[in-house]
Amino acid sequence: MNVVVVDDDPLVRLVLAKAVTGLGHVSLPAEAGDKALEIVESTPVDVVVSDWMMPGMNGLELCQAIRSRDAIEYVYFMLVTALDDSEHALAGIAAGVDDCLVKPVRPFDLRLRLMVAERVTDLHRRLAERQRGLERSNVDLAASARQEPLTGLGNRLKMNEDLEFFRSRRDRYHELFGVALFDIDHFKTLNDTAGHLAGDEALRRVAAVIRRELREADMAYRYGGEELLVVLPAGVRRVAAAAERIRKAVEHAAIPHPGRPGPETVVTLSVGVAPGEGDAEAFLLAADSALYRAKSEGRNRMAVAGRWFAVPELAGSP
């Protein structure tokens, strides 16, 4: 164990330090409370053995300072008091001291107390490890609870949380965003012809292409059965450009679409784009309307919602 030995008297400190070292521990001597605190803050410390009466910070204040730190690792604190000093011993234990030793400290007593300290700190260490493990699994659980398992994209819960975040950034900092709602063309035919497993596989591959095309700040979600939503922190022109890029990338990925009506034999997407204006319901409805228009205009194309429709360079595609 790493044991900080605190006493303003160099002889007492020397005896304690030698005793600690002789018991196979690492002794870290300090001549004052504030020096001890510096050691605790910069080094992994298991035990502090501190005199009560010291100039400057006394043993009790040192203990309180150590206990008030925001650290998982437990520091076992032993206070050294005079034998007739039961009041200080009581106040010390009440303030977070683990054990009291009587002056002059007998090396054999120190040995016994350090054995107890080792047991207790080991217990605390295992608890801390378990706590860290739980915190890690909480983070993992929080992530997996927000992931749609087939596509690996965000699910509706994640989407709702993120849209709320985008909306608040927009309202507070005027940061623009837009949404692109994708739908796999003739998906029902794909399922009916090749089976639901093939449908799932097509969805998975489309999602992979979308993920590859996005930047870190862009988000993608499985919105419904074969509908995928992409949210980008950008104005509607850039969102439309990104949606068009994704649409082409999926087409070029040449994911097989057996039984598809018409000349095409690969999976294609229709996409409706809308600026992130108003509440979620409003811009998702706008994107859905644009998607509907893209479908009705022949599929495998993009349409932009509402007033943006009139902008020539954004008018339908390809």
């Binding site: 007492v12 005896v15 030698k18 070292t21 002056k103 007998r106």
Partner: protein, 146 residues
Amino acid sequence: MRQNRTIAAHPEDRPGGNDNSGFDSRGAERAAVDETVIEQLASITDGQGFSVLGELLNAFLGAVPGRLEALDRAVAAEDPAALAGQAHALTGSSASFGARGMADLCRELRIAAEAGDIEESRRIVGALHAEFLRVRAWLVNFRSRS
């Protein structure tokens, strides 16, 4: 010699006021050093398993004369605050090395100094010098025996 008494109680377990005569309650001369404390110190070993007692005793015998000189200066300067502080510091060192007579005298000195009694302080500092000579003789003798 009555070693049992020192086994039963720590040096600080006794009232410090009246028992600095070098004699115990039956009038027998009390040893300058509590041997059980020294035996405890002798049980401390270094990484190779060798006793570090010699190193500890050298540190004690090397440090105390300087502390006593500081007490002399504080008496000469008639500085009760310095006297009380240094007396307190020497109490812990003395007790840690089993020099219970010195520890008792230090406690008395602190009380006298805190009361501003320079004359009594001067007397006790003189007694401390004498007691340290006894302690040193005892420790040197112990070291040559062991």
